[in-house]
Symmetry: C2
Subunit: 252 residues, 2 copies
């Protein structure tokens, strides 16, 4: 028995998110089905990030246990042949039997993309949130500076989420504009349910001058979901990648 770690990229448009569910096709389900067919044994996959319906990933992480004799690094080639075009394994390697993608210390990076111009661009319709209202990126950057650090992010958590604590650490939040495309790039050691999309929705309100940048400080202090902006649409969000602290230490 060995444990294999996968890096998985997917276009989330046509999936009901990562996690297995009764009423809709999910990334986890497709991966499990195709891995089971490929390896001839029943495979259960554990994902690092249970991305929501419509959210994309460039590098989500998943592990599974297998008795196969196929070397870990061959798996992407064989599995990609079987997967639909909107899911592609980027990397596979054998890892320690106790490596757990959820409980292992890591930092995650997400990007939220906003297309800000007069008219939408068809090719970006599934991967960006469009708004024609001119956004002030400098004000958004000011607001972002309040979010960086360790805070109680209760105002930025979906109501009813069952978590022990709503304290999280955002290690970096960059906003940059290339042409008409604004990217909010956020890195942290963990995120609450909908946290990145609520941060994006709040920064959108700063950008369009509904909120002054300073208000973000008050929103954090309020510890109340109702004070923050609305949850920005799923399609603008991509999980860029996950770095595990153990692996970073190995590299040093």
């Amino acid at each position: 028995m060995k444990r294999v770690k996968l890096i998985v990229a997917y276009d989330g448009t046509h999936y009901c998110g990562w996690q297995l569910q009764a009423n809709g096709i999910t990334i986890q389900e497709v991966l499990q089905d195709q891995l089971s067919r490929l390896l001839g044994e029943k495979i259960t996959v554990i994902g690092a990030s249970r991305t929501d319906s419509g959210v994309h990933a460039a590098g989500n992480v998943a592990v599974f246990d297998t008795n196969t004799r196929m070397p870990g690094e061959k798996i992407p080639y064989a599995l990609n042949q079987k997967l639909p075009e909107d899911i592609r394994i980027q990397h596979a390697e054998e890892v320690a039997a106790d490596f757990h993608p959820i409980y292992e210390k890591c930092i995650k990076t997400y990007e939220y993309k906003i297309l800000n111009r007069k008219f939408p661009i068809p090719m970006l319709r599934y991967y960006t949130h469009f708004t024609h209202i001119r956004l002030d990126v400098e004000e958004m950057k000011k607001a972002a500076s309040y979010i960086i650090g360790t805070h109680d992010f209760k105002s930025f958590c979906k109501e009813g989420a069952q978590v022990k604590t709503t304290v999280r650490t955002v290690t970096d939040l960059e906003i940059f504009k290339e042409g008409d495309l604004i990217t909010i790039r956020i890195t942290g050691t963990g995120f609450l349910h909908n946290m990145v999309r609520i941060i994006a929705g709040t920064l959108l309100k700063v950008g369009n001058k509904t909120y002054p940048a300073m208000k973000v400080r008050e929103i954090i202090e309020a510890r109340d979901r109702k004070c923050a902006g609305s949850t920005a649409p799923a399609k603008g969000l991509t999980l860029i990648g996950i770095q595990y602290v153990k692996e970073m230490e190995k590299e040093i």
Copy 2:
């Protein structure tokens, strides 16, 4: 009666190209149907570039004649409401009654995008041609230098195309790499059927070392379609924009 010029962006994935045809839905058909509904009269649209099935556009140009009292510049807002998400009008203006998008002198810019890495990225699957074979961009640039200029491009024209002359002028051909994405950006006063895709297919063969860069010179001289590389897949191609000489002169 007035003539209106449109700049049209579309994701060509689900269309049988621009031009009206019996067996499949086309951009021209959708535009004509929705313009006719919007303006309450039968509208015929003339496109500058009859892009092939699966080819995309950021800025194709089309004109139509109408009796509407709606000001030209309002049309994008009203029409985009009716169009499917994969077609979006970027601009509209009233032009002279004799402005003809095909016969008017212009320069067109196309981009052919190649994703060159170990595994495909799902989000780019409809907008790039993927190859895992490492391409030598410097060699491709050398080969590109032979293409720039006025030549008989018969080797780069779909066989059987009915044209008076296969002489065309490529005013610029740039190749640049950003991360794993290689863009071939080509500008010229006119292109033969499949010309950009055959140039891309030939440059791919230079990049993967099937052809030396020098061979492109021989291919041009041969005036024989069989000597060039294969026609690269449609999905990698986007018509970026069309600049009309008259309009450029106005700007100066």
